[in-house]
């Protein structure tokens, strides 16, 4: 079946667009997301560390001002249960550190 010029043009256009879309997704995944991924990971790690400094006594680490950090609790209460699960389930510090770097 012979295609009209118009049809061929549309098909090529679709193909180009679809390749472009794939290319765009590729770029997002491997460069843009990865770039922010490192920052987000860093941000969450730091957030966990701050939580540890504030509420270490919940894990049994003495804190000289634990009575006073309690008043911060309302503002971070939403993160608290998840943080505790994360911090209690730390299996390997080395693996966590390794996750910060991109070996692929």
């Amino acid at each position: 079946m012979a295609m009209t010029v118009r049809e061929i043009f549309d098909k090529v256009k679709r193909a180009v667009f679809s390749v472009g879309e794939w290319l765009w997704l590729f770029v997002v995944a491997s460069f843009l997301e990865k770039r922010t991924f490192a920052i987000r990971k860093e941000a969450w790690d730091m957030n966990d560390n701050v939580m540890l400094l504030l509420f270490g006594d919940f894990l049994g680490l003495p804190n000289p001002i634990s009575y006073y950090t309690l008043e911060i609790l309302p503002y971070i209460a939403e993160d608290m249960p998840a943080w505790q699960r994360r911090i209690m389930n730390r299996k390997s510090v080395a693996a966590e550190k390794a996750a910060q770097y991109d070996f692929t």
């Binding site: 941000a43 701050v50 001002i65 634990s66 309690l70 008043e71 911060i72 309302p74 503002y75």
Partner: protein, 322 residues
């Protein structure tokens, strides 16, 4: 005494030496001299009410002309503090989370430092009421506050750590700020974190605490405050006082002097002859150890301290403490 150079006077010492009596007497003296004076008891087993003959509790109540009193109830204070946090929490987070965290709040409430921290908070709140304090906000003010019982070891530890604590809070704030900054960079995912980067209640709270620590240290280490130790001319009280004085001075807190209570008069009679001899030695020891400071001797009274009558008798002698 016409001018008052000191706003806060603390009486400390071993149990049973007569702290409460001395602080009451000193407060009476200040009130009689025309200063609006607040007498504060921090001892969990309060005996101030028994001495002044007025029922006192956790609110400021008048005792006599120009004299008010309060017995700090640490348990009540910390309960109020925890209650406020719980209320705030209910307003901010979902009830399910509150339920999950309640247990931990209970733990914090019963932790060893909780009552001392609560007492310390109340201390600062009261100290703000003295005339000329930066915290005095037009409410009731006093010329002078007399504290029965010096701050405990825990409080002193808090005060002794201002540099460390300050640096610690500083680094907490810096870390929190950095975290929020990072969240801000990738803000399309953590919208509310990004929003918080500019106006964060966590940083506000930490900053407020830091200021409070700084202020209380200023109150306690400046010439606004002085500590007096009440002791008896006996071996153990002397040893303990010597240690306590050393600790306070290490923290930069002025020790104004010592009050030697229940000094046996020389004409006490046959029964006391032996003790009088020992007392000579101990009094000499006190002079040697605390010689640079004010030393006031209070004689053993004919009767025990039962009320304001004896307190007034002592007040006249304690005037020398200035």
């Amino acid at each position: 005494m016409t001018s008052l150079r000191r706003s806060f006077t603390f009486f400390g010492g071993k149990g049973g030496t007569g702290k409460t009596t001395c602080s009451a007497a000193y407060a009476v003296k200040l009130a009689d001299d025309g200063f609006d004076t607040l007498l504060v008891s921090t001892d969990p087993a309060h005996s101030l009410s028994d001495i002044v003959g007025t029922g006192l509790d956790n609110t400021i109540r008048p005792i006599r002309e120009r004299l008010w009193g309060i017995e700090i109830d640490a348990a009540e204070e910390s309960k109020r503090y925890i209650g406020e946090i719980q209320d705030k929490m209910l307003a901010i987070v979902s009830p399910a989370i509150v339920e999950e965290i309640k247990r931990q709040m209970e733990i914090a409430y019963t932790s060893p430092g909780a009552e001392e921290a609560a007492t310390f908070d109340k201390f600062v709140e009261l100290m703000d009421m003295v005339k000329g304090a930066d915290g005095a906000k037009g409410g009731r003010t006093f010329d002078s506050i007399v504290f029965d019982t010096a701050p405990t070891g825990h409080t002193l530890r808090l005060l002794s750590l201002p540099e460390i604590l300050g640096a610690w809070i500083d680094s907490l704030i810096a870390k929190r700020r950095k975290t929020l900054e990072l969240f801000g960079m990738v803000g399309k995912f953590e919208e509310d974190m990004k929003k918080r980067a500019t106006d964060d209640p966590v940083i506000d709270t930490l900053t407020r605490r830091q200021k409070q620590f700084e202020k209380s240290r200023e109150y306690l280490t400046g010439d606004m405050s002085a500590f007096f130790f009440v002791l008896n001319a006996e071996k153990m009280p002397i040893m303990e006082t010597a240690r306590a004085v050393e600790m306070l001075e290490k923290f930069g807190i002025t020790v104004g002097g010592v009050v030697v209570n229940r000094v046996i008069p020389p004409d006490a009679g046959e029964f006391f002859a032996e003790r009088l001899k020992d007392q000579e030695g101990y009094l000499a020891d006190i002079e040697r150890r605390f010689g640079g400071k004010n030393i006031v001797r209070l004689p053993l009274l004919r009767s025990d301290v039962r009320g304001m009558e004896q307190v007034e008798e002592i007040a006249a002698i304690l005037g020398k403490l200035e």
